[in-house]
């Protein structure tokens, strides 16, 4: 019980740090609801704290809870000065499409379903220690190494990392787990899993408030309910795999990218870039989304033609600059220690090789359609999504949702390319990973579905 209280206090502290990072990034340029602030701050807090722990490695410092938290006091002081000088608030009355009315029976049912899924996810996560395959073989073992050493050992990259699978995987969640172990003072690998359902709740929160910007409460609840009740999605909020944290960063980045496309606000583009780079710091797949989102930003700026302003150009370079900056420490480390992915080599990404691997397309497509139509994992989401997109293709091509649709299409294409250039057996690789990869852009797909269906639903 004591450990549970400590871990909740630690997560509150991390979220508070994230809130300060958000305030630094966004100031008053973003209008956010309290729920959005808490959700974004949680992800930012964990991401930046783990990045800081990586910097401790460069400095040769050991981890202590006080040592990790204390540098953030400086940011706190800067923000306090900014706040009292400028009175710029992070929380403003956000745009809401319809004024709140008394919740009806359907609202209560939907909210009840969402709350049930969140509480049940927390329960399922905490009842078991970390035990599923990748979670233990790749991630939890590293958290244990860092916790026992009270640092990233100086011989970690040269020797220890290579004794366990996938030395090249980024360390965001592993270091976040380490921090929570250190807060508790014990290796409680059941309680530490609370990270994952909290990311799940944060995604639901972001989706709900994003939809509330243009739709009624009932409408927003329907789609939040849909996302919360997708079996594969809520399962992955409990098993200590990194798909749900990754989906969070990809979704937050995508949402604020769409907001920037609408209003051009600096806060939105910076937040989108930061979230994208934290996606890259969570899993290697996140780097693909960094490339996709950066590409979309540049396409948007270029497509404006003569209407392109200096601010647009600045934003585009700022976007790529932030991603490079945040990704730099981990990228340099990997390059310095010659740590490479053992499943995919980007050197294989060339037209000649792609043509040679074309025979894999049949298997990739077959496995993909098997995933799409699996109700045990997705309920009827993907068939419904495809039908709606095809019937409403004109709406899908409207601004700014066409960029969300393009992001999903490019991500799918990216995964296909990775399967083609991978060293692994394509049947094994696709059957093990397709469904997982689809989780990465699932929240964005639900959001897109909600936007496209808006005019057809009267609630």
């Amino acid at each position: 019980m004591v450990e549970l209280i400590i871990i909740l206090i630690s997560i509150t502290a991390v979220t508070f740090i994230g809130c300060n990072v958000l305030y630094l990034i966004a100031g008053k340029s973003l209008k956010l609801k309290l729920g959005e602030i808490v959700a974004v701050s949680y992800g930012l807090g964990l991401g930046f704290l783990s990045l800081e722990m990586l910097l401790f490695y460069f400095a040769g410092w050991a981890f202590t809870v006080e040592g990790i938290l204390s540098p953030w006091l400086l940011l706190l002081a800067v923000n306090a000065v900014r706040y009292f000088r400028g009175r710029s608030r992070l929380m403003e009355p956000a745009l809401v499409a319809a004024p709140s009315r008394k919740p009806g029976l359907i609202d209560v049912f939907l909210a009840g379903g969402i709350v049930f899924e969140v509480i049940y996810a927390v329960f399922r996560a905490l009842i078991k220690p970390i035990e599923s395959y990748d979670a233990i073989a790749i991630y939890a073992i590293r958290s244990k190494i860092f916790f026992l050493a009270k640092a990233i050992p100086q011989d970690y990259f040269a020797a220890i990392a290579r004794l366990f699978p996938h030395a090249d995987y980024p360390l965001n969640i592993q270091l976040s787990e380490t921090f929570l172990y250190m807060s508790m003072g014990s290796l409680n690998d059941a309680l530490v899993k609370v990270i994952f359902p909290f990311f799940f709740a944060a995604i639901l929160c972001m989706l709900y408030f994003a939809l509330r910007r243009f739709a009624s409460r009932t409408y927003a609840l329907v789609f939040t309910f849909i996302l919360a009740t997708i079996p594969h999605f809520n399962n992955y909020a409990t098993n200590a795999y990194l798909e749900v944290p990754l989906a969070f960063y990809i979704f937050v980045s995508g949402l604020f990218l769409l907001r920037w496309l609408e209003d051009g606000s600096s806060g939105a583009i910076i937040l989108s870039a930061v979230a994208a780079s934290l996606a890259g710091w969570t899993k290697n797949e996140g780097l693909m989304y960094c490339v996709i989102y950066t590409g979309l930003v540049f396409i948007f700026v270029i497509s404006k033609g003569k209407k392109t302003s200096k601010k647009d150009i600045l934003h585009a370079f700022l976007y790529s600059g932030i991603i490079v900056l945040v990704s730099l420490p981990w990228t340099l480390l990997k390059a310095g220690w010659h740590i490479a992915n053992d499943e995919i080599a980007l050197a294989n990404l060339n037209p000649a090789n792609l043509v040679r691997q074309l025979h894999k397309l049949g298997t990739i497509t077959y496995e993909f359609q098997k995933q799409l139509f699996g109700p045990k994992k997705w309920n009827i989401f993907w068939p419904a999504f495809i039908v709606v997109m095809l019937l409403n293709y004109k709406k899908t091509l409207e601004m700014p949702v066409r960029y969300a649709a393009a992001a999903i299409f490019l991500a799918l294409s990216g995964y296909v390319v990775f399967y083609m250039i991978s060293y692994l057996d394509v049947v094994f690789f696709t059957s093990k990973t397709w469904a997982r990869f689809m989780l990465d852009f699932l929240p964005l797909a639900v959001y897109l579905l909600a936007v496209v269906l808006k005019e057809d639903v009267k609630c």
Binding site: K128, P129, I136, A137, N188, I380, V457
Partner: protein, 134 residues
């Protein structure tokens, strides 16, 4: 018309959702796991998830080997989830191709060249130690 179709689709969704929740709890027997786990300590949860015998054997190995020893574990399928769990529980002991110790889970009847019996574990397996070469 479109609205009606969407309403039907949503009703189907809710029906499937309720079915999958029930399936997850009852048909997949998770309720039994939850019942067994809810009152256990963290240590006992590890034992339950890994299998009591294997977990007891791993604890035995950890208690009997020096802190930074290297090992090879036999008796578990290579690449199996229990092998991964064993590697996780045994850390900071490290796997090696030329280990100080061989951890034999299961029958200890087979001999390993260059290794001698170091410790036995009440029927779950034994530990063999590398013999010193003069």
């Amino acid at each position: 018309m479109k609205y009606k179709v969407l309403k039907i689709a949503f009703a189907v969704w809710i029906g499937l959702w309720l079915f999958f929740v029930a399936r997850e709890l009852v048909i997949k027997d998770n309720l039994r796991d939850y019942k067994a786990l809810i009152t256990r300590s963290l240590e006992d949860k590890h034992a339950y998830m890994t299998g009591e015998d294997l977990y007891r054997f791993l604890k035995f190995c950890k208690a009997n080997l020096p802190g930074r020893a290297t090992y090879r574990l036999t008796g578990l399928e290579k690449g199996s989830v229990n092998k991964q769990r064993a590697v996780y529980y045994l850390y900071p002991l490290l796997e090696s191709g030329d280990p100080d110790f061989i951890l034999v889970y299961g029958s200890c009847s087979a001999k390993e060249d260059g290794y001698m019996m170091f410790a036995g574990s009440s029927g779950f397996g034994c530990i063999m130690k590398k013999m010193k070469v003069r």
